[in-house]
Subunit: 462 residues, 2 copies
């Protein structure tokens, strides 16, 4: 076996994104990509023998990192009937008072938690652009760069998605005072994407894309113009059909349900990620599945906000692709997202193992495999599988964790997703470098201290 400059070898049993392979030699090049995967070979003598089975790291396809500062603080009943607005009001209050240092401290904590939980990359849906008074920062990409800095320090891969957010509703009303940090004109937004693209260029673990906040926040003609002005090769994300009220308003103003409007007016395809898409009728479900777009499911946030349950079985039957996201950061765990995505379907159907089939019977394996595919597509990067050319992003599962009541390879992802409350992820690699070893991120203590100082200061000021 020839060994080039800077290459490293690892030996393990692995799930390559599709199936389990025994005694595999993984070769990682100096840029952090997998250059070869050889099953059933004798590894080179200097190969690192990994301490447990290996699975591809999970992409987190939807995150608002700053919301980590308020996780758990909006669980208070308001004076009237309580819906998602009790949470949104708390979020606006937080967004109005974050300074750049605070944002970086909060994002760093979120990213360290993501890595430790088994997320190796994140799509950051980033809509904080201006300062608290509504003025531009001297560097208009100041806040985006703070997020990139936090990602680089933690070691997580990132696709930063600056967000266009112009209106407070389908009636095109202006943003409120508390939302004014989110506003950019279309020209300012396009300019911001150029700055963000430049800022991510040097780091192979960083990339960019962009997002429309929602059909509530961006007018149809603006959506078309901005889409046409930007690189068609980068990922584009949008929040859609999260709440029933949004569907009703969309029908009133645009004449169609939001997902139906998108499928008719936008050339949906694998470059698009629709976040939530909770409320779809049968035709919308079928159309999105056929388009190749990704649906971004965020089960813990969607449950916290009372959004409703995504029609998963119908969507998968039609060939739909999904990934998962930690969104509001009430939970940061691919395990909790996938477990409760499936459990939600069981609770309403009275059936078990709803995403599995007789031909593909393992429920945990199926959930992990499917969300790798969608997550990678949403990220726009060669991740989510263990094949030559893919980025070396993987997790080593601790075979001594109390969940591992069987070491049969086929059982491992079922045990990971469906058993226990301690994360059995032992080691985490991103882009060919270890970021977590033995469950521990080397920056965790310093990041947590700074995070707690920051959040307590922010939350006392409320």
């Amino acid at each position: 076996m020839h060994k080039g400059m800077g290459e490293k070898y690892y030996a393990a049993d692995l799930f390559d994104g599709t199936r389990w392979q025994r005694r595999v030699t993984l070769e990682v090049d100096a840029e952090g990509s997998l250059s070869s995967i050889r099953p059933k070979t004798r590894a080179p003598e200097d190969a690192e023998v990994l301490s447990g089975p290996v699975v591809p790291g999970m992409p987190n396809l939807h995150s608002h990192a700053f919301q980590r500062a308020m996780a758990g603080l909006a669980e208070i009943r308001g004076p009237s009937e309580d819906d998602c607005w009790s949470w949104r009001e708390a979020m606006y209050r937080l967004a109005a008072r974050l300074d750049p240092e605070a944002l970086e401290a909060v994002a760093a904590q979120a990213f360290v938690e993501m890595l430790t939980a088994g997320y190796t990359s994140v799509c950051e849906f980033h809509y904080l652009h201006r300062d608290p008074d509504g003025a531009h920062y001297a560097d208009r990409a100041e806040l985006g760069k703070r997020i990139l800095a936090a990602a680089a320090a933690s070691g997580i891969g990132i696709t930063l998605l600056p967000v266009l957010y112009q209106h407070g509703g389908f009636d095109r009303r202006e943003l409120t005072r508390r939302q004014r940090r989110f506003y950019l004109s279309s020209e300012e937004f396009i300019d911001l994407t150029v700055r963000i693209a430049a800022a991510t260029e040097a780091d192979p673990n960083q990339a960019w894309g962009f997002a429309f906040h929602s059909l509530r926040a961006v007018a149809p003609e603006v959506l078309s113009e901005v889409r046409a002005a930007l690189d068609p090769a980068v990922p584009v994300h949008i929040h859609v059909a999260e709440q029933q009220a949004e569907v009703t308003e969309c029908v009133a103003h645009l004449g169609r349900r939001p997902v139906a409007w998108l499928t008719r007016n936008v050339e949906l395809g694998p470059g698009w990620t629709l976040i939530h898409a909770t409320h779809m009728d049968a035709d919308e479900t079928e159309a999105v599945a056929r388009s190749g777009a990704v649906v971004g499911l965020c089960p813990t946030t969607e449950a916290n906000l009372g959004d409703g349950l995504f029609p998963l079985e119908a969507y998968l039957s039609a060939g739909g692709v999904f990934g998962i996201g930690s969104d509001s950061q009430v939970s940061i765990s691919p395990i909790e997202e996938l477990r409760w995505l499936e459990y939600g379907r069981r609770l309403v159907s009275g059936r078990r193992n709803t995403v599995a089939s007789a031909a593909d019977p393992r429920c945990g394996t199926g959930l992990w495999r499917r969300s790798l595919v969608g997550g990678a597509r949403a990220t726009g990067r060669p991740i989510g599988q263990m094949t030559a050319g893919a980025r070396a992003d993987w997790l080593v599962i601790d075979p001594q964790a109390a969940q591992m009541v069987s070491l049969e390879a086929d059982a491992i992802l079922d045990l990971l997703v469906f058993s226990g409350n301690r994360c059995p992820v032992r080691d985490v690699m991103v882009g060919g470098r270890w970021r977590v070893r033995d469950g521990h991120h080397p920056g965790a203590e310093a990041v947590r201290r700074r995070f707690l100082e920051t959040t307590r200061r922010l939350n006392e000021r409320r």
Copy 2:
């Protein structure tokens, strides 16, 4: 302040089961009970100042400890439509091959995990009585005593509930070969309760009660006779209305829905705990709430099995009392049970903070407080609150955990229940003795090693 023999003092801010109190001195007597609670006092000089806020430990009101050996191994789609029977078949296979040593090893792991997660006591619903060939053990309480030994070694409080399980359905069919370990005649069962009562007598952290497996498994006249023969002061539990199919069969054989049958034919009261009670109509919901019986909710197991969602808002409006249980052990976490109990309601109602009210607005506080009340009642012990005479069972929350973005007392239980994926329980006391310190149970490693040896042996034999 007078100090008696063997008394110990602790100083902390605490949630007493109803409200938060600042700078409290807790006095614990030599038997492990709270002898006084003095708010806003100066603690004695030798008081231990606790390292964070204190909350009462959670009772786990429904556990089948042995099922910990198969957690995560039944997430496989069967050849036909999959319902709860795919899980039950796997459970019967496991139950058929456990020996007493294996049962003790598995129970010890479950109990150590419970303590570390914040459960300070457990009601063990114990239906494994005979050996794998269907013969009695030399000591007929052999398996129950193994569970008590595991509980004593771990330090968890236990109410052991031997279970009467005689039939395989409402048609009174005999138990199958794989169920034969569960069978006792009524006389054998009454004799077993006497042995279990004697075995728990010496340990102040151990108690007994009994259970009827379900209306499927015990004929009405046997239920009445056995109930009448046993101590009316001990707790009695029963599985009821977990699945829709069970409701239909019960109507066919007994002429009423299962909960309606119970409310008419049994003197329900605070001594009764109805496990699941998922499928109730409005009259049943109201009748159970009025009776003072406890409903035992097991949200993670009920989700895993696709049982359905309990009508929580209606039950609470009628004054109903509930507690929580880890049941099949797919999850062992009061946090996950309470979080998803509430999230389930949010998902179907489109509302947030459904168990809270304008007068009682904190959702996490409300969930913890209510499940303490029901859990204590189901256990039949003076636990679940911090008042004089109660057992000293409490948790110290780590104020440096990343969840604790505010240290305002009112926020702590919301942050505990609704944020994050690492348990912020730092120290755990049961009956006046520390069982977990700094997140670590001193027996954890040895128990886990023995557990993994045992489960891998069991699961390879399948």
